[in-house]
Symmetry: C2
Subunit: 553 residues, 2 copies
């Protein structure tokens, strides 16, 4: 129910049109001075009228809800278990302390980030698609400066799972295109169908000669750099057999062509956490109170009147707080260990069933940006400015920095892996993780052998599934599983009538993405305001978390 006791506009909030509905709703709220949907729900009006809201967890969704609800006149308190806001939106800098849960289920300090001053690495989300408009809007409105994140360059490398070689992206991409086009041309010739416009398309698509053969292309790079009296010669093509046998596409080589990773992607200048710092700053400015080191231990729903009572510990003492609404941004694997009083059985079952994905990142400081190369002594092993190298090794991928090009030092994401690979890496001590990650990196860049160039003591690692209050990378939704459908639908609906809401990318069509977190926060706000139904639609679509985090698989 909305604060004034009415639930207006529910019918107009047609499924599939919630952004529009929110836009219309907000402009309606603001009366004659309405300026329409600004992307930050910043229309006038104060429907909250001081109504208390407790938000559990200062992740991206929690902070978004805190900002928006405060702006709408609610009295918002955010309880955050950690000593910082942001959740998985975390940027490592010198002096940052990392903690994980050990085998005996104790929280342990694993290591301290020792990057040089001025260097940083995003340990959680690292990029923003151009169509993630909520994230981009908050960045614009809160003056978070953005710069392009380069997802792919043709100087990046590929180390296919089934071959003991390292190739350049440009050769794998263009020689594969060329061979496939030539193969199609060949089969078309058999039926005299290799003619006209299709023939011309294949020639240009694949870089074929006029007879439909692929003999290599300068698209794959030059054999040697051109000199004044020499025309550049194409690098000789990789053989089709070698490409097919290598299984290179299984190393996520085509992930960059999926919509979520298409150009132009962005990143905040100076680190992804500028987004959560800005959200927290603006939420506070709008009146929200953010309590750090406040670990929620239980939630009890009101029996007599709508509302929730939350218990939490802070500085070794126990506290409790009450509110009309409670929004939980707590990761579901953490939520299920809390004391949940008077929650429904279907809700408990849903919370029990949701799995989170294992995922690790490793970060390196390199004292020279060797991947960019010595400009004065170019050879074709260099010239990497951003992008990702893909490998069949445990590390899965190696990211190069998309910022501070041509400077001296830099940081690299030395592993970003999932599932089995992440379990293997995560089960090791930080030192042993770096050892494994270095092996994978050496296969891509022999320079990693040099521990003065890439020192161990400046390496960082994180196994998100072991991080206290996180326990995973994102909800591992599988669309074909019936119990996942049930759980997803259940979690879209509040508990205790209209009292308790789950939010986060964990209950969004974009698991693992900040846009999903913000979308979920907006949805929950709409439910509280009465512009989205409290009951989930009969048919809900469960996201395919692997596709949404790793591309077509």
């Amino acid at each position: 129910m909305s604060p004034n006791g009415k639930r207006p506009g529910t019918a107009s909030a047609a499924a599939g049109d919630s952004a529009k509905a929110l836009r219309h709703a907000m402009s309606g709220l603001s009366g004659p001075e309405a300026t329409g949907w600004t992307g930050t729900v910043a229309a006038g009006g104060s429907p909250g009228n001081g109504t208390k809201v407790l938000i559990l967890g200062a992740g991206v969704a929690g902070l978004t809800a805190a900002y928006e609800l405060s702006t709408l006149g609610y009295q918002v308190t955010v309880l955050e278990a950690q000593d910082r806001v942001g959740g998985r939106n975390r940027t490592a800098r010198r002096g940052d302390e990392l903690y994980e849960i050990d085998k005996n289920n104790n929280v342990t300090h694993t290591h301290t980030c020792a990057f040089d001053d001025g260097l940083y690495l995003n340990l959680g989300p690292g990029r923003i698609p151009y169509h993630h408009r909520r994230v981009l809007t908050y960045c614009r409105d809160f003056r978070v400066e953005l710069e392009p994140y380069v997802m792919e360059t043709t100087a990046n490398r590929v180390r296919p799972p089934q071959a003991g070689v390292t190739w350049h992206n440009r050769r794998v991409a263009n020689d594969t295109r060329g061979h496939l086009a030539a193969k199609l041309a060949e089969t078309l010739m058999e039926t005299d169908a290799f003619t006209g416009e299709l023939r011309d398309l294949l020639r240009v698509f694949g870089g074929l000669d006029t007879n439909g053969k692929y003999r290599g292309s300068t698209r794959s790079g030059y054999l040697d750099q051109p000199e004044i009296e020499e025309w550049p010669v194409p690098a000789p093509p990789l053989s089709f057999e070698d490409l097919v046998n290598s299984g290179f596409w299984k190393a996520r080589f085509y992930q960059p062509i999926d919509y979520l990773w298409q150009a132009t992607m962005f990143q905040p200048v100076g680190g992804m956490d500028h987004i959560v710092m800005a959200l927290a700053r603006e939420a506070k400015r709008a009146g929200a109170r953010i309590v750090l080191n406040a670990a929620v231990t239980g939630v009890r729903l009101g029996k007599a009147a709508p509302g929730a009572s939350v218990t939490y510990s802070k500085d070794g003492r126990k506290f409790s707080a009450d509110a009309r609404y409670c929004i939980s941004n707590i990761p579901i694997p953490v939520l299920r260990h809390l004391s949940l009083g008077d929650f429904s059985d279907p809700f408990r079952k849903a919370v029990e069933g949701v799995k989170f994905e294992e995922t690790c990142k490793v970060g390196w400081q390199a004292n020279r940006r060797f991947w960019e190369g010595d400009l004065g002594s170019w050879d074709d092993t260099e010239g990497i400015y951003g992008g990702i190298s893909w490998t069949g090794h445990n590390i899965t991928q190696l990211w190069y920095p998309s910022h501070d090009y041509f400077s001296d030092k830099g940081t690299l994401t030395g592993a970003y892996n999932f599932q089995e690979a992440a379990r293997t890496l995560g089960d090791r001590t930080p030192e042993k993780r770096l050892e494994l990650a270095r092996e994978g990196a050496i296969e891509l860049h022999p320079e990693f052998k040099d521990k003065k160039l890439v020192p161990d003591d400046k390496g960082v690692s994180i196994a998100w599934h072991k991080v206290p209050y996180q326990l995973g990378g994102w909800a591992a939704w599988k669309p074909h599983l019936e119990d996942h459908k049930k759980a997803y639908k259940q979690l879209l609906q509040p508990e205790g009538g209209d009292t308790f809401y789950v939010t986060g990318d964990q209950i969004s069509p974009l698991p693992g993405w900040q846009e999903g977190a913000m979308m979920s926060a907006h949805y929950v706000i709409q439910q509280i305001l009465g512009f989205q139904p409290l009951t989930a639609p009969e048919e809900v679509a469960v996201p395919d978390s692997v596709a949404l985090t790793q591309g077509l698989h």
Copy 2:
């Protein structure tokens, strides 16, 4: 001959290895304190010993030679006909005056750039490939700040020559991949060859279903943006027939996959002319004298002793200057109209024969970056951050700015065309050019209909083939023509013994590229120093100018 009368190391300067040769040469010159090739020929030593060099034209090659030779102890004077340095490296800003040669062969003021303060547009070169190491090295050494130039985004548009429609890049790219892969799968199935790894590669390459059919893919974008309870549905695929019939690939759609335009490309922050301003600054700092408004009228080679005498006009008066060496960075179509005394017949014939390409650019100021879109009201016609839309219209391409994203105003390159299209556009008055360019732009973005949003009086245009002292975009070399081979070879060789040299991208394997200009300047310096032979190799490869400026054709 080198200044000390010896010609050392010629044998070591193997063809195809000139950069290495220069590196070795320079470190040899500097004696025990040699630090090797630094990319800027900045090794110690002063072999020039005050020897006079006249450089005709302050384009990229002329400035590069001026800087390097001054650093090496030569006494360098640069004569530049225009009131600015840079040649085709030109960035338009408010107040810049544009001149062209009219039908009666008179130089006319065409218009004044009226962009708002702070806006700019590169009228000449607009991007730097990651493998153009000379340009990158000078930028680093001279502190020209670089930022990524985005060549392609999947939000860009395509208006194929043979279809009256405008499509998104992501749909054309991925639906074509998908259909071609499905077609190959289909033909392979006929012979039961659609199996194993190849089958799996095609599935991932094309986004096929497990039966080898292409039914659309989220790679082509979503039908609607995802909402909380809805899984995003792929945009329906463009039909293969429509794609093939459209001739989209003839609109240079695949140019971005050619090596020269592959990611990561760069541009100087604030305008491409920061490169020539830095080169001129450093050349002067090293002792070079740059004389502006000094139009060369003739060159006479010494008969008795090696050297050249140059006549030029400045402020309505005639001057002459002598030097031991003379390096001409004057575009060949301009050079052939000078009085050339005692040049050889083969040289005259070469200079007569070289054609330059017609090329135009149009620039628009837009008072709102509508292509980026209103973040709060996203629809899939927006989200363009850089990149190029391709069209069969006369304008050929539309560039979006790769800088100052999310700001208010911006400039666009509203046409960049060649040959016949450039002749047609260039023959019009500036007003009529904008009229034609607006028609082409409206087909891509209806917003161009709004002359308040994109005002005529802030539009600029340039037909490089009509610009005084330029007369074209770049040398139109064709590798299969016997007389082009003769001319290219001839122009690699100095005239008057070792006195007069032609330099510029016009006599390099990279016509139209600044890297070619710098490569040529380095080559000429090596010839003067005696580290490259004065006689061209028996076999020279003539560049394919169309491929090098427009991609595979």
